[in-house]
Structures are given as C-alpha cells and as structure tokens.
C-alpha cells in the first residue's frame, strides 16, 4: 500500500493567538530567517534520504506540506523537496498539497510548486467576515483570499481547498452562511470547517474568561448551519470537519482516517508505519541536528503492513470520523472478518438521532459528529 508523506513546516510570520501547532514566528531578521529555512530544507532532504533507505522500495502517493506556513519556504525550496520525494518515493499520480496563508506574492511560490508537480493548495481563509478575522488575530483581510485563489489558479492549480473556522467571537449563523457562500463563489473544491477549540498554553486560553465565545448550544448550531450551507453549495460532508465536491476529498487526510500508513517529517510530525506510531519532537533545533523520532530509533520493520494490537479499536476510532463510518465492507476488507457484533450492540442503545446502525455498518449523524468523543468512547466500551 503506498504511504502518505507529510512535511511539517514550522514557520509563521507571527503566531495566531488560538493556534497550538508547533511553529516559530519570524525572527525579525529576514536574512536569519532565510538561513533558517535553508537549514530546515537541508534537514528535510536528509531525512527523506534516510527514511527512503530505511523503507527501501516503499512508494508514496500523497505529499502534504502543512504547518506553520509552508508558503514561507518559497517556491524553490518546496520544489527541491518535491523533487527529492519524487526520486525517493515515486509519487506517481500523487496528490501534492501545500498549505498557504492568503497574502501577497504567492504567484511565484505557487508557480514553482506547480511546476515541480504540486497540484493542490489549501488556504487559511477562516472567514469571509473582516470582523471575525480581526478577532482571530489573522493578518489577512477577505480580499486577500480571492487574490490567493487567483494566484493558485493562474499557476494552473485547480484543486483548491479553503479552511473556515466556526464558533468564533460574535459569529452568527448568517455570517457562517456568508462564509460558506464565499468559499463556493471562489470556486473551492474542498472546504474544511473547524470548530475553534481553546487550547491550553495559547494566548486565547490565557484570556478565555474575557472572550465572548458562543456557548455549547450556539457552537453546535453554528456547526450545523455550516454543514447545511456547504451542502446547499454542493459540498458533500465526508468527515466531521471536511467537505468536498464529488471526487475531491483529500486523499492525504483520508489516510489518517483509514488507518493507512504515512510518514511525517519535521518537528512535531507524526507517523504511522508498520503499525507503529511515532513523532519527531516539537523542537526545530533538534530536527536541524538530525534527531529522529525517539521511539523509533531502533524499531523493527516499519514496512510490514501488519495490524498491531489495538489496531481494531484505532481503526474504528478513526473511521467514525468519516461520514461513511465503520462500514461492514471496509472492515471486512481490512481485517478479513466481519465487524464484531459487540459494536453493533453498543451502537444500538445509543440515540438513533446520533448514531445510525444498519446492514452497512455504524456511522454518526451530523448531531452525532458533534458528540463524537462520548459516542466513540461508548462504542469502544
């Protein structure tokens, strides 16, 4: 089975106050930043070499640049990494995605990215309301999104995904509908709509008391509004927070939810290989020094496509994020036996407004998605 490649680019111009992903803000010296990006790129290339040797012959069919803000690397560095990955992992007919924040001067980056084989761009639009963008501490304004979409398109990239955020300060169902409408108008083929979560350790967490965030019921309503509005625009919900036009679901992200193998490179990047999970430490300097994911330094065969102990639970846990849920057919294909009856029994006592159980398998309704934590816990006993 071809694997997915994930490259974590841990750089941003500035940190957004709600974000707890691993990324470092710009240093203030453009020259120092450029040197850091170079050093980082060298480390990624070296890691690709190392992993390719280790996973001899393994092919990849997706490559995803996430962050951070991958566009900060610029087209040349992105292209070098893509080309190296192609040499090591094939990337035949692969989906190659980069994340970018709407900003000036993306044309060149996108063009180089596309020339190297990049074919998908994911933009952090977040909202069509300038007020909501301000309250999120975003650097861009609504018109920047359209400009970024144009830049991608003129580079020949048609597969564009836009991120939206839900449950923002002062957000109303009307503004959510407006954002969904705007994403459609911009021609997005894929939309991710994430409920804002206040993460410990972020500036948002520190001032959570003074944030006028919607309460639990209002958050749920905003989520349902977003789902319906996107559906009206022709997007089909295929995961808790992901929507696409037919045929444009993210192939890379689907690997996560299907318990398929992927290799993550870069500080904080996670991998799932040979039934093992491991991650690089959240530490750029360690990564630059060539440190490897701790647990895996002397692990055995990572190419074996075995399902480890607990794999079945993990599979169910992840598949329940998908609209398709845990399907009888897919489970059969994956494990060579039918879905154990216990899961159906557990699902059967849960409210049918939240969980659907039938001959096809078990899946959550939209209301059920909103409660996926407790529902999943109950299904797994």
């Amino acid at each position: 089975m071809p694997i997915g490649l994930y490259i974590h680019v841990p750089f941003c111009i500035s940190k957004c106050p709600y974000c707890d992903f691993y990324s470092l803000p710009a240093s203030g010296s453009p020259q120092a930043d450029e040197e850091r990006y170079d050093a980082y790129t060298v480390s990624v290339l070296r890691a690709l070499d190392g992993w390719a040797a280790r996973l001899s012959g393994e092919k990849a069919d997706t490559l995803y640049f996430g962050g951070g803000t991958p566009s900060l690397l610029g087209g040349k560095r992105l292209a070098r990494i893509i080309e190296s990955a192609q040499r090591r992992f094939g990337l035949e007919g692969a989906e190659i995605t980069m994340e970018a924040n709407p900003a000036d001067g993306l044309e060149e980056t996108f063009r180089a990215f596309a020339d190297a084989g990049g074919n998908r761009v994911s933009l952090g639009m977040q909202s069509a309301s300038s007020g909501e963008l301000r309250s999120l501490g975003r650097r861009h304004a609504p018109p920047d999104v359209e400009a970024a979409v144009q830049a991608a398109r003129s580079a020949g990239i048609r597969n564009i995904s836009l991120d939206l955020m839900l449950a923002l300060e002062g957000q109303t169902p009307a503004s959510v509908q407006a954002s969904a409408g705007e994403a459609a108008r911009l021609g997005a083929r894929h939309v991710s709509a994430y409920l804002l979560k206040i993460e410990e350790g972020t500036p948002y967490f520190a001032r959570r008391g003074s944030l006028a965030l919607p309460d639990e019921d209002a958050q749920a309503d905003l989520y349902l509004t977003a789902c319906e509005a996107l559906e009206e625009q022709g997007y089909r919900q295929y995961e808790i927070s992901n929507f696409s036009l037919p045929g444009f679901a993210s192939r890379h992200n689907l690997k996560y939810w299907n318990l398929e193998p992927y290799l993550g490179i870069g500080p904080s990047a996670h991998s799932y290989l040979g039934g093992r999970r491991f991650a690089y430490p959240r530490d750029l300097s360690g990564f630059l020094r060539g440190e490897e994911p701790e647990a895996e330094r002397d692990a055995a065969d990572l190419t074996a496509n075995s399902i480890p102990e607990g794999g079945e639970e993990e599979y169910i846990l992840l598949r329940l994020r998908l609209a398709e849920g845990v399907s009888e057919a897919a489970f059969q294909r994956r494990f060579g036996r039918s879905l154990p009856a216990i899961y159906r029994q557990r699902a059967a006592v849960l409210p049918s407004s939240l969980v659907t159980v039938d001959e096809n398998g078990i899946r959550f309704t939209r209301e059920g998605f909103l409660l996926s934590n407790p529902l999943t816990a109950r299904l797994l006993g």
Binding site: Y64, L195, E216, A269, H270, E314
Partner: protein
C-alpha cells in the same frame, strides 16, 4: 506499685474544641516526665490521624502518670481523656464515672461554649470535683477576669483560685498539677469487697485480643482470675493486668480499688466488653452491677455503598474491623437498585457517621457513596402494628399508616447575641420550637429550642456555622417521639425512581425540599446524550421537575497532521470519567451528585 490510695488522683479534662485540652495534656505529661522529651509527639493523647486533624477526641484514652508534688510525696495521676462530642455522650458519662475530678479548661478569650457547659453539667451530676483552669492567657484578646466571672456565674463554682495558664507556652502548668493534688479527692473503695470494675473503654489488639480499660471501684483483680461481665454474662480468664503508660502498656501483678488499668483476657470482640458494663469475679461475684449501664443505640442511619461494586467485600471487611473497636457502629447488608450491594449503617450521631465514613475512605482506601442520613421514625399501622423505620425503602404504603411519629431533641445553641436573629430564623426554618433564651454574660446567649432530630441530621450544624460565621456552638440531646406528618419523597431520573435518593420528610417541607433536591441534581448531573428529566414525587404524584438538557457538542474537530494522540487521550479521559459515574438506568450520575444533595443549605 505501692502508691497508697490516698495518693491516687483520677481525673479527666473537659474542654471545648480548640480550647487546648490536648496541649495541656501534653504539658502535664512533660511535667510529670512520664515521656522523655525526645519521645514527645505533639498532642500525644489524640492518636488517630483524624483526631489530630480535627482537634477532637473520638475515643477515650487513659494514661497513668507519676507526679512529685511540692509536699515531697509522689502521686499517681490517672488522666482519662474523654471524647469531646455529643455523639459520644454515653462514653463521656462512663469516663466521668471513673473519675473523682475534672479539669475544666476555658479559653480566656472565647469563654464557655455549649459543649463545655453540657459536659461540665454531666461531670457535676456525677459528683466530680471541678478544677477550673483558664487557658490561652498569652493571647492578646485574653480576658481572664471576665472569664473567671463567667465560670462563677454560669457554672456556679468558685473560680477565684483557678490557675491562669498558657498550655502552649508552658506557663503556670505547675499550678494545675498542685490543684489536682489539693482539690481532687482520692478514690474510695474497699479492697476486700467483691470486685466491681467499671469498663470505660476497650479496643481490639490483634495479639492480645480486646484490651479493656476500667476503673476498679471495689475489690481486686489479678492475672489468673476468672472474670464475668455482669451485663452480658460472658466469662474470661485474665491473662494480663497492668496500667497504661504513654504509648505502651505496663503489666503488673493486679489492680485494686481506686486504681485505673487494663486487662487482657483473650476477649474476641469489643461487644463482649461493653462500655459501662461491670467486671466482677466469677468465684465471688458482686451482688449488684455498678449503676448506669445501657447499651447505646444508633440514632442516625445511612446507606454506605462502594463506588465500585467490586469492592463490596473490602467494605464488609473494613466495617468488621472498625466494629472491633466501635461497638456502637451497626451495619447490615442492604441492596439498592441504583447503587448495588452495600450496607445500612447506624451511628450515634452525625459526627460519628462522618468519622466512620472518613476512616473507611482513608484507612481502608475505599471510594464510597453514601445516602442521605435518616433518623428512626415510629410508624403505627392501621392494624395496630408499630414499625421503627430507618430506611426510606422500608417506608410502608401511606394507605396503611394510622399515625407517624418522629424523634425530637433538646437543642442548645451558644452564640454571641449578634447572631440571635440568624439563629432563630434557622431554627424556625427547621421546625424548631423556641423554649427559652438565657444571657450567659452581656454579649453571649444560650438559646434553647426543641427540634426534630431529622432537621438536625440534615446539615443543621453546617448551616448554623455558616450563619454565625462559626461563632455558635451547638449541643443536642434526644428527648423522645412526637406525632408528625411524614411523607416519603422519591426522585425519578428519566422516569425511573432512584431508590438511593428517596428520603422521608416532614410533609410541610416536602415541596421546598423536592424543589431544592431537583435543582441540586440538575446542577450536579452533567448533560447526557439525551435530555434527562429530574422529578420529585410523593406516591405517584410529581411535585417538582427540572431538566438536564441534552449535551450538544463534545468533539475534537481536528486531528492535525495525523496526530491522533490527543484523540486517544480524550478517549481515555472519557473512559476514566465514566468510571466515576454511577449508571442509574440510562442516566450517568457522578458520585458528587449523591454528596451534593445531602447538603441542601449551601446557598
């Protein structure tokens, strides 16, 4: 041990919580050099953790000390430390009966408190010589002269000679010791008369069996004697006699009239050596036991269940062990639909109940759910049968009840007069009937109410403390039964009665309590996957309702970059959280909800 009877002093110490009883006891031990200084542990007499923490004495302790007095003679002091709480009044009365005198400690800044007063009267009733001591004179707020006057006015004893001391700083302790020698009479009693010894405490020792503490009133007992407990009739062969030195037992050749000591006689349970019983010799029994024996009966009952049903056996063993040392604790198996297998336990009072619960949790590491405390109601059925009901589960069908009665208590509240309004309001709410009010001095009052016991067990003391900023002290005594109108209130969650939440309540309070109960439950039951109605009902009639809205959102929106560790952690958290929940039908109820509904007067 050849101290003549004239040189023995048997005494106890009476004090309110925090007035310095244990500190003074420590100083006395120090001065009599019974304990080497390096072995001194603070507050030597209160040896249970709980006692130290709460600053109260739960079990009686006794210790024998030798004192070289100013007259050059050596005296033997038997200090018997009594429990300091009304729940243990009977134990207190037996300890007092073993003494000729009592040191009354009064805090120089606080003055006399309800507890002190009650115990002092008890001591006076037993004919004890009261030696007043004014403690904490080192405090800036000390007013020793006023307190001296207060003692004379309220208790009616001469306090002009009362030593003014600071137990904490060790000031004037000598004066207390001399007062003990001078003022407390030596014990009387004939060595030749048949043995009569009063049991005032006992505890279980895993090597020697039950160790019985007693005071010989007449006659003599020595190892090898066969003794008989006059109330239970049980007979035992004495293996060992001796006296209690601090921290250890010191065997001797025998004990005579006037002396305080212990015996070990291979006794299996403390139930065979009940406090208040009289020990005599099987070969030459006394004709009459000592007066005052009674079997103490529990007054307050509640269900105790293991939070995790798998720990039922552990709970049973823990209760068995506790009962080895606590004959007044009763328990019998109880089954609840909601809580599974547990025990219906009986206690002397609320404090006793709390102590037992805390010891079970701490010393036996058990996680418990307890149900609301209940008193014993007397129900007369239409067919003339009389039932004593301490468990709402057994409450009969209202149609079969001819009349109902509830226990009532005499309650005394001592407090600064600023709080009279608050206190009376509280007592009124709790169906108290005002009896009288006395001024203890210009600023403090003794308010006397007659109050149903079930109002007292229902969180009364906490409510009193919060409405008097902790300044009130409180004491009560069971008085008897009075006719009452009672109903059984049921709580329904999602339509199902939760038996563990049912309780018996005065009909006039039913609506208010039902409403508060539903509100409290609503606040303490987290939102579930579906809407949960909470209802209170009498018979089939719903009298209050609240709703816990359905949960709407609990989702991890993003698993970024394939990082599912957080998702897994959340799942673990959910599972952990579920463990702390009680599944009642389809509803998950946290343990805290059971505790919270026991405290309805919080706000």
């Amino acid at each position: 041990m050849n101290v003549p009877r004239s040189h023995i002093r048997n005494f106890c110490i009476i004090a309110h919580i925090d007035h310095g009883k244990s500190t003074l006891a420590d100083r006395i031990l120090e001065k009599t050099q019974t304990v080497a200084l390096r072995d001194m542990e603070d507050q030597l007499l209160d040896s249970m953790d709980l006692e130290r923490e709460r600053g109260i004495t739960i079990k009686a302790h006794a210790v024998t000390l030798s004192y070289q007095a100013q007259d050059g003679e050596t005296y033997l002091f038997n200090l018997i430390d009594t429990p300091g709480h009304v729940d243990f009044n009977y134990e207190v009365s037996r300890s007092l009966a073993a003494c000729e005198g009592a040191i009354l400690i009064v805090d120089a800044s606080q003055g006399i408190e309800a507890q002190t007063l009650a115990n002092t009267y008890l001591a006076v009733d037993h004919g004890l010589e009261i030696v007043p001591v004014i403690n904490k004179i080192d405090l800036p707020s000390a007013r020793p002269d006023e307190v001296r006057q207060e003692i004379e006015d309220i208790i009616g004893i001469d306090a002009s000679e009362a030593p003014a001391i600071s137990a904490k700083q060790g000031t004037n302790i000598e004066a207390v010791l001399e007062a003990i020698v001078r003022q407390i009479p030596p014990p009387k009693g004939e060595d030749d008369a048949p043995l009569r010894a009063l049991i005032f405490d006992s505890y279980y020792d895993s090597y020697k069996g039950v160790i019985v503490y007693f005071r010989v009133m007449s006659g003599e007992v020595k190892p090898g004697d066969t003794i008989r407990m006059m109330a239970t009739g049980a007979q035992f062969d004495v293996v060992e006699t001796g006296i209690m030195r601090p921290g250890r037992l010191e065997p001797n050749k025998g004990l005579r009239a006037g002396e305080v000591g212990y015996i070990a006689a291979s006794i299996k349970t403390v139930g065979d050596a009940r406090v208040g019983d009289t020990i005599t010799l099987a070969s030459r029994p006394a004709e009459e036991p000592l007066p005052g024996y009674r079997k103490v009966n529990p007054m307050v009952f509640c269900g105790i269940f293991p939070a995790d049903g798998a720990h039922y056996q552990d709970l049973r063993e823990a209760l068995e062990r506790l009962q080895l040392n606590d004959a007044s604790l009763t328990y019998e198996p109880e089954t609840s639909v909601a809580l599974g297998f547990g025990f219906r336990c009986g206690f002397l009072g609320l404090l006793h109940m709390e102590i037992v619960q805390e010891r079970l949790e701490r010393e036996y590491n058990l996680d418990l759910i307890t149900t609301a405390p209940s008193v014993i109601y007397r129900i007369t059925l239409t067919d003339g049968k009389v039932l004593m009901i301490d468990n709402p589960t057994n409450y009969p069908d209202p149609g079969t009840i001819a009349s109902a009665e509830e226990p009532i208590a005499d309650a005394h509240i001592l407090a600064p007069n600023d709080y009279v309004g608050n206190i009376m309001e509280l007592c009124q709410e709790r169906r108290g009937v005002f009896k009288d009010m006395k001024y203890l001095d210009t600023t403090r009052v003794d308010i006397h109410y007659e109050m149903p016991l079930n109002e007292i067990v229902y969180d009364f003391f906490d409510a009193l403390k919060s409405r008097t900023k902790g300044y009130a002290s409180f004491d009560y005594e069971l008085k008897g039964y009075v006719p009452s109108e009672l109903v059984k209130l049921d709580i329904l969650l999602n339509g199902d009665v939760v038996d563990a939440l049912s309780f018996i309540v005065f009909a006039g309070n039913a609506y208010a309590r039902a409403r508060r109960m539903c509100e409290k439950l609503k606040d303490n039951i987290p939102r579930q996957l579906f809407e949960v109605p909470i209802q209170a009902a009498i018979g089939g009639k719903i009298i209050a309702r609240e709703t816990v809205k359905a949960m709407r959102k609990d989702v991890l929106a993003k698993c970024y970059g394939g990082d599912i560790t957080r998702k897994k952690k959340l799942l673990e958290k959910q599972k952990e959280g579920k463990k702390r929940m009680r599944q009642l039908g389809s509803v998950e109820v946290p343990q805290e909800a059971f505790m919270a509904v026991l405290k309805l007067d919080d706000d």
